[in-house]
C-alpha cells in the first residue's frame, strides 16, 4: 500500500504531462486548472468524484513551506514525512516554495482564492500577520480539532492567547524562531549588539531581511522602541533608521533566504538572520576557515511564528488535519526540531529531544531561557489596512 500510494502521484503528474504533450489546446485549458491537476495526481480523487471520507484520511496532500524547516536525510528525503507516511498511509508532497509571505501571497494564494478556486495547497506555512490577513479575507478553512488527540492539547500555553485565534482553529504553529545576528566569528569575532546591523564596520558585508517584521522590528529595537507595541511614530522612526543606514551604504543586500548563500561564499559576514538557518543550514556546511554563529542581541531580537494553515478549498483537508495532529505528538515534533533548531511550539518535545540528544535540550535557541524570551519581541499586530500601508512604505524605504 505504501509503495503504491507513493508512486501514484508521480505517475499521475507524468501521465498528465504526457497527455498534454499529445493532446490539443483544449486538453490544456481544461487540465491546467489546479483542481484537475490535483485530481489527476491524487489516487481516489478523480475529477468530479466525491472527496475521500472524512473519517479515514488517505491519499496525499500538498504542503508549501520555507526551506530549512524539516529534517533532511543525506539522500535528500524527509525522514519525518516518511515515517508519517508509514504510520498513516498519507503521502506529503512537501515543497519548499515560500520565499516570503508577500511573494507567496502574490504568486500562489491571491489569484485562485480571489477567483473562488482552490490554491492547489492543503497546508501553507505562513507567518502570523499573513495568517491574519488571510483570515480576515475569509480565505482559510477552519481546522477541525474535534477529533484530534494532540492538537491543541499539546500546544504551548504562550500560543493559546493569540487574540486572532482564540479557539486555535485558524493556525497551528509549526515553528517559532528568533531573528537576530548571524555572523562569521572567524572574521568578525564575538558580536552581541543589534547595533552591528547598522554599523559601518560591516558596510557592504552585511545583509538585512526583506520581511517588514524583521527589518523594521530590528530597527525599532535599535531605536530603543518595543516592536510589540510599535505605533505609527515608532514605525516611522524605524524606517528612518533603515533609510539612514541604506544611504550610508551599509547593507549589501536586503534579501529573503538568499543571505545564506551570501554567507556561505563569504561575501557577507554579518546578517540579520533566522536562528535555525544558522544552526541548521550554515554551520553544517561551513569551511574550516568559517565559524558561523547566531546570537540574540543583548538589546533584543524578533520572535516570529510560522503556522500551518489550510487555505480555502483545500482538496484533502482531512489528510492535512491528520498531519497537524500527528505533528503535535511530542516525539514527532522532537524529530523535526532536533534537525531544524527552531523554537518548538509543542509541549513535551523537550523531554523527547533529550532522548535524541541531551545537548540539544540545553540549546537555548530551541528552548530559550526566560530571560531570552523576555527580549524576543513579537511584531505589533495592526489592522490589515494599516499593515498594507506599512508594507508599501517599507517597500519604498528599501528602494522598491
Amino acid at each position: 500500500m505504501t509503495t503504491t500510494s507513493r508512486s501514484i502521484p508521480q505517475l499521475g503528474r507524468r501521465a498528465f504531462l504526457r497527455a498534454t504533450a499529445a493532446g490539443g489546446a483544449a486538453t490544456f485549458l481544461a487540465a491546467t486548472r489546479p483542481g484537475t491537476i490535483l485530481a489527476a495526481a491524487r489516487p481516489g480523487a478523480a475529477a468530479g468524484a466525491p472527496a475521500p471520507a472524512q473519517d479515514a484520511p488517505s491519499g496525499s496532500f500538498r504542503m508549501a513551506t520555507w526551506i530549512g524547516y524539516i529534517d533532511v536525510s543525506d539522500e535528500m528525503t524527509y525522514p519525518s514525512l516518511d515515517r508519517f507516511r508509514d504510520e498513516t498511509g498519507i503521502e506529503v508532497d512537501y515543497q519548499e516554495v515560500v520565499e516570503g509571505n508577500e511573494e507567496f501571497f502574490a504568486s500562489d494564494l491571491r489569484g485562485p482564492l480571489e477567483a473562488g478556486l482552490e490554491t492547489g495547497w492543503d497546508v501553507c506555512v505562513l507567518t502570523d500577520w499573513m495568517v491574519q490577513r488571510l483570515s480576515v479575507l475569509g480565505w482559510l478553512e477552519s481546522i477541525d480539532t474535534s477529533a484530534m488527540t494532540s492538537y491543541p492539547a499539546n500546544l504551548e500555553d504562550s500560543y493559546r492567547t493569540r487574540a486572532w485565534d482564540p479557539e486555535n482553529t485558524i493556525a497551528a504553529p509549526w515553528q517559532s524562531g528568533m531573528t537576530g545576528l548571524g555572523y562569521d566569528a572567524a572574521v568578525t569575532g564575538e558580536l552581541s549588539s543589534v547595533g552591528e546591523l547598522f554599523s559601518d564596520r560591516w558596510a557592504g558585508r552585511l545583509t538585512w531581511l526583506s520581511e517588514l517584521n524583521e527589518s523594521a522590528g530590528m530597527a525599532a529595537i535599535y531605536n530603543g522602541d518595543d516592536p510589540s507595541t510599535l505605533d505609527q511614530a515608532g514605525f516611522d522612526a524605524a524606517l528612518a533608521t533603515l533609510t539612514a543606514a541604506l544611504d550610508a551604504g551599509i547593507p549589501r543586500r536586503i534579501a529573503g533566504n538568499s543571505y545564506i548563500e551570501d554567507m556561505t561564499t563569504g561575501d557577507v559576514v554579518v546578517a540579520m538572520a533566522w536562528s535555525g538557518d544558522v544552526l541548521g543550514l550554515l554551520v553544517p556546511d561551513q569551511r574550516p576557515d568559517q565559524d558561523f554563529r547566531f546570537t540574540l542581541p543583548v538589546e533584543g531580537g524578533m520572535l516570529f511564528t510560522d503556522n500551518m494553515v489550510i487555505p480555502r478549498g483545500a482538496q484533502n483537508k482531512a489528510a492535512a488535519e491528520r498531519f497537524i495532529d500527528w505533528y503535535y505528538i511530542p516525539a514527532n515534533a522532537a524529530q523535526v526540531e532536533a534537525y531544524v533548531n527552531y523554537v518548538c511550539p509543542v509541549k513535551g518535545a523537550g523531554e523527547e529531544i533529550r532522548k535524541i540528544d541531551p545537548a540539544l535540550a540545553e540549546n537555548v535557541l530551541i528552548f530559550p531561557t526566560e530571560e531570552m524570551r523576555a527580549r524576543s519581541y513579537d511584531f505589533v499586530s495592526v489592522e490589515p489596512d494599516v499593515r498594507a500601508a506599512w508594507e508599501a512604505a517599507f517597500a519604498e524605504t528599501i528602494g522598491l
Binding site: 511573494e103 547593507p251 536586503i254 522598491l400
Partner: protein, 290 residues
C-alpha cells in the same frame, strides 16, 4: 474562393493578417490600455481596487521614484555605450579579419544566448565574488586592496547588463559592416591615410544602420531590466524594473506598478518613434534579421 481572392487582392492580405493582428490587438493593445486604466485606480489589497480616475498618481510616482528612473537610464545608457565599445571592434574584426574562422567567431558571440539568462547572470556572481576566482586571485597577488568588491555595486549591475545584451549590439553591427563592399574600404584607404579618419568618415557612417539597431536592441531591454540589479546590485542600485516588479509581485500595489510601467513604456516608445522617424522603421530592426 481563389478566383474571388484574385479579384480582391487586398482581401488576401487582410485574411493573412487577421489572425496575428487580432492576437496582438487582444494581447498587446488591449492589456496596454487596461494597464493604463488600472494605474488610475485607488484602493488596497484588503479593500480591493476601484476606478477613481486618479491621474494624480502620475506626478506622485514620478516624484517618488525619479531616482529609480534615473538609475535605469544611467545604467542602461552606460551599458549601451559599453556594448558599443566592446561590440564595434569585435564586429569589425569578425567582419574584416575573421577569414575562415568567421562562423566560429559568430558562434562564440551568440554563445551566451544558448545559456539561460538567469544562469549566466549567476555565473557572474561566481566570477565576481569578493574572494572568488577573479578578485580573490588579484587580492592574493596584492594587486587589489582586500576590501575591493565589485558585486553589489553599480559597476556590477552595468557589467551584468553589458554582458547580457552584448550580442544584441554586436550582431547588427556585424551585419552592417559585412555589407560594406571591400572596394569602398580600398577607396577609403587611398583617400585617407589615417585609419581613424577612415573609421570616422567611411566605416562608421556606412555602419550607421547597425549602430542604430544595435543601440535600440540593447537600450530598450537594458532600461527595463531588473534581474541584473536584483542579482548583482545593492539596495541603492534598484532600477525602475525592480520597483515595478516588487509593486506587482511583492506588495500587490497594482496602481503604482501600472503607472510606473506605463511611464516607462511611454518614455521608451516616444524616444524610439522619434528615432524611427529619423532612421526609418525598416532600417531599425531589419539589420537584426539580415
Amino acid at each position: 474562393m481563389f478566383a474571388w481572392l484574385r479579384r480582391h487582392p487586398s482581401a488576401t492580405a487582410y485574411l493573412l493578417l487577421a489572425p496575428g493582428i487580432l492576437y496582438l490587438a487582444l494581447f498587446y493593445v488591449w492589456p496596454t490600455v487596461g494597464m493604463f486604466l488600472v494605474s488610475l485606480e485607488t484602493g488596497t489589497i484588503q479593500t480591493g481596487y476601484t476606478q477613481s480616475w486618479n491621474f494624480g498618481v502620475y506626478p506622485q510616482v514620478l516624484g517618488e521614484y525619479w531616482g529609480d528612473f534615473l538609475n535605469s537610464i544611467l545604467y542602461g545608457g552606460a551599458a549601451t555605450l559599453a556594448t558599443f565599445a566592446i561590440g564595434f571592434p569585435l564586429a569589425w574584426f569578425v567582419a574584416f579579419r575573421g577569414g575562415r574562422y568567421k562562423t566560429l567567431l559568430l558562434f562564440l558571440i551568440i554563445a551566451p544566448f544558448f545559456t539561460s539568462f538567469i544562469l549566466r547572470t549567476i555565473s557572474w556572481k561566481i566570477i565576481l565574488a569578493d574572494n572568488g576566482f577573479l578578485l580573490g586571485t588579484l587580492k592574493d597577488l596584492g594587486l587589489l586592496p582586500d576590501e575591493t568588491r565589485i558585486l553589489a555595486t553599480p559597476v556590477a549591475v552595468i557589467a551584468g547588463i553589458t554582458y547580457n545584451f552584448l550580442p544584441f549590439m554586436t550582431l547588427p553591427l556585424y551585419v552592417a559592416l559585412e555589407k560594406i563592399p571591400p572596394s569602398v574600404l580600398e577607396a577609403a584607404q587611398d583617400l585617407y591615410a589615417d585609419p581613424l579618419s577612415r573609421l570616422r568618415r567611411v566605416t562608421l557612417p556606412l555602419a550607421m544602420p547597425g549602430v542604430i539597431a544595435g543601440s535600440l536592441l540593447t537600450f530598450i531591454p537594458a532600461v527595463g531590466d531588473f534581474v541584473n540589479a536584483e542579482l548583482l546590485g545593492n539596495p541603492r542600485t534598484t532600477m525602475i524594473g525592480n520597483v515595478i516588479q516588487a509593486r506587482f509581485l511583492k506588495v500587490s500595489d497594482y496602481p503604482t506598478g501600472a503607472a510606473l510601467a506605463f511611464i516607462l513604456m511611454a518614455a521608451i516608445l516616444t524616444g524610439v518613434l522619434v528615432y524611427a522617424r529619423l532612421a526609418g522603421t525598416e532600417e531599425l530592426y531589419g539589420a537584426r534579421a539580415g
